[in-house]
């Protein structure tokens, strides 16, 4: 009888999922096939790929979507490679971006990311670890990624970790790998013009899914 009553009563139900506030996901029409409901807040998203694979373009596109909504975003730039002029052409509102140049110091980059996450209120934080030495990245304790993902929970922030190899992969809710497929050159009477590339994006944690093909225009 008691068991029956307990199963019927709402009062004894676990308050877990119903009471968690749901934050509006960041809608991204270009990546809709990978994120049908948008990119969820409070998640870590890893982007991997070599040079010219288009991972920076995808990161900048997500940043441009967030800044268009008036959100404050941050770029933690390990190798001082962020180019504001191209970022502006990609649609990023530069006056909404905090740019932190870490002068190749991975420790500083991770510490800055931690501080920004604890400050709260950021829309997207892009932790750009591309070009970091593999040896240096592997020295980062595994618990650090856990700490970052813990700090992200229940915040409106999306943490984009872009890197050549997947160090943060295991702690990321989503992991994307980008590869360069086609380079587009247009022939003119005076020679060729480079117009853009076509890339494929694979969802690493869903190996059965088809890659998403995207066209990147040269700005």
């Amino acid at each position: 009888m008691a068991k029956h009553l307990l199963s019927q009563s709402n009062a004894f139900r676990s308050p877990k999922k119903d009471q968690e506030p749901r934050l509006t996901a960041l809608e991204c029409s270009s990546l809709r096939r990978l994120f049908p409901e948008g990119i969820n807040r409070g998640n870590m998203l890893s982007l991997q790929g070599g040079f010219s694979s288009g991972q920076t373009a995808v990161c900048q596109h997500i940043l441009s979507l967030a800044t268009a909504h008036g959100e404050i975003c941050a770029v933690i730039d390990l190798n001082n490679s962020f180019y504001p002029e191209i970022a502006l052409a990609a649609g990023i509102r530069l006056d909404r971006v905090v740019w932190i140049r870490c002068q190749k110091n991975v420790k500083h980059a991770l510490r800055a990311c931690d501080l920004l996450l604890h400050a709260g209120g950021f829309g997207v934080i892009n932790l750009d670890l591309c070009g970091a030495h593999q040896r240096e990245l592997s020295r980062v304790p595994f618990s650090y990624w856990y700490r970052l993902s813990k700090a992200l929970k229940q915040t409106p922030t999306i943490l984009l970790v872009s890197e050549h190899e997947g160090q943060a992969l295991s702690r990321c809710q989503h992991s994307l790998r980008t590869t360069l497929q086609v380079k587009h050159w247009t022939e003119t009477g005076l020679g060729d013009i480079f117009t853009g590339t076509e890339i494929h994006i694979f969802a690493e944690k869903r190996p059965w899914s088809m890659p998403l093909s995207l066209l990147l225009k040269r700005g």
Partner: protein, 428 residues
Amino acid sequence: MYACLHSANEASGPPLRELANSFSSQVEQTSENTVVFSILPLRKLIGSPYQIASEISREGNERRLRANLAIASNPDSAVLLARHFPGVTLTTKALERERLGLLPLSALFSVADRVAPSLLNVLDHWGLKTIEELAILPENGVVERFGETGVYLRNLARGEVHRPLYLSPAPVPYEEHLQLEHSLELLEPLLFLFGRVLTKLCDRLRSQSQAARRIVTELNLEDHEPYHFELEFPIVLNDSRTILKLLQLHLERHPPKAPIVAFILRIEPTESRHLQDCMFLPTMPTPEKLHLTLARIAVLVGKENVGTPALLGTHRPDAFEMQALPKLDNDVSFPVDTPSVLHLALRLFRPALPAQVRLVEFAPRNVTAPGVRGKVLQYAGPWKTSGEWWTSTFWCREEWDIALDNGALYRIYQDLQSSSWHIFGVYD
């Protein structure tokens, strides 16, 4: 009853105010060199208006002030009399109007701020020259022709405008000085004292609806020159804990060279910030917290490496400046215009990588640079850009887009001044 002190010398404004403050707490600074104050409370303390005037004159003489003093039934009449009659003018109610009536009509307009000066011409055309001539005009006729303004002017001429004094609060000092009994060597006890002083200063700021724009700190050191530094805040602050943390971060980076025996904290106040947030807009970091976080990050990576990029008005490649804070206002228009096309990004090498390029028929064929090496499979270019030949930032170069056999796409350029090749960035 009101007393007015007026001096022909404009520089004597503050001493006049001090003199007025010594007699009354209700002092109006009418102009740079005119103050008006109420003497009604002084009647019990000093006596008749004559005795009050004598006391003010005696105090003024002791302070070596040269000013006119007038005592009248209302502030405006007192100002008019003090400005136009030298020495001490003490009037009764009946005598007051008689004295005022002698003055030219233009004198009235120096007191009546809210009346358009063009009205004086109209009255002049009517043949009115003195205040008395305006005062004796029938009220109904003045109302018909000038409305409310006319009535106000006529009452002013008759000495019948009774208004409260416009009191300006005395300036609040935002400076604290602390002399220590024993010199301090460690930062922690100093911060404890800073915290106490800052709490007091910030309470004072908040009570005046003000906030700090800058804090100036002066530390008197044992056997050393005083150590002096200023912190300017990109956003105004009135939270003592935030200011204390910023002081701590600064002192950790630039510690004083000797123990501290005294310090002065001075805050430059400004209007506090009031923001009405909108329900439908995304959350943002609170300005105080963001400022503090960026200051903490600046300790790690350097102040010049933290901020918001802003492009400069030039075609020079990679021309930007770093600003202190991002824009924190909610100027988002709905519906939001979101970018739909993905643009290829360019990752820069700063500084540009010096490269060795082998040319075949004036086009790059092989590129060798630190970390980059390969055969050029395809190329586009060259595009010549130059500019700012009139400054030291002059540039002149030929740019190429190249695809190497390692699969990556680069932008390289040849500096035409030095003929050297560089890898500017990689497309990504």
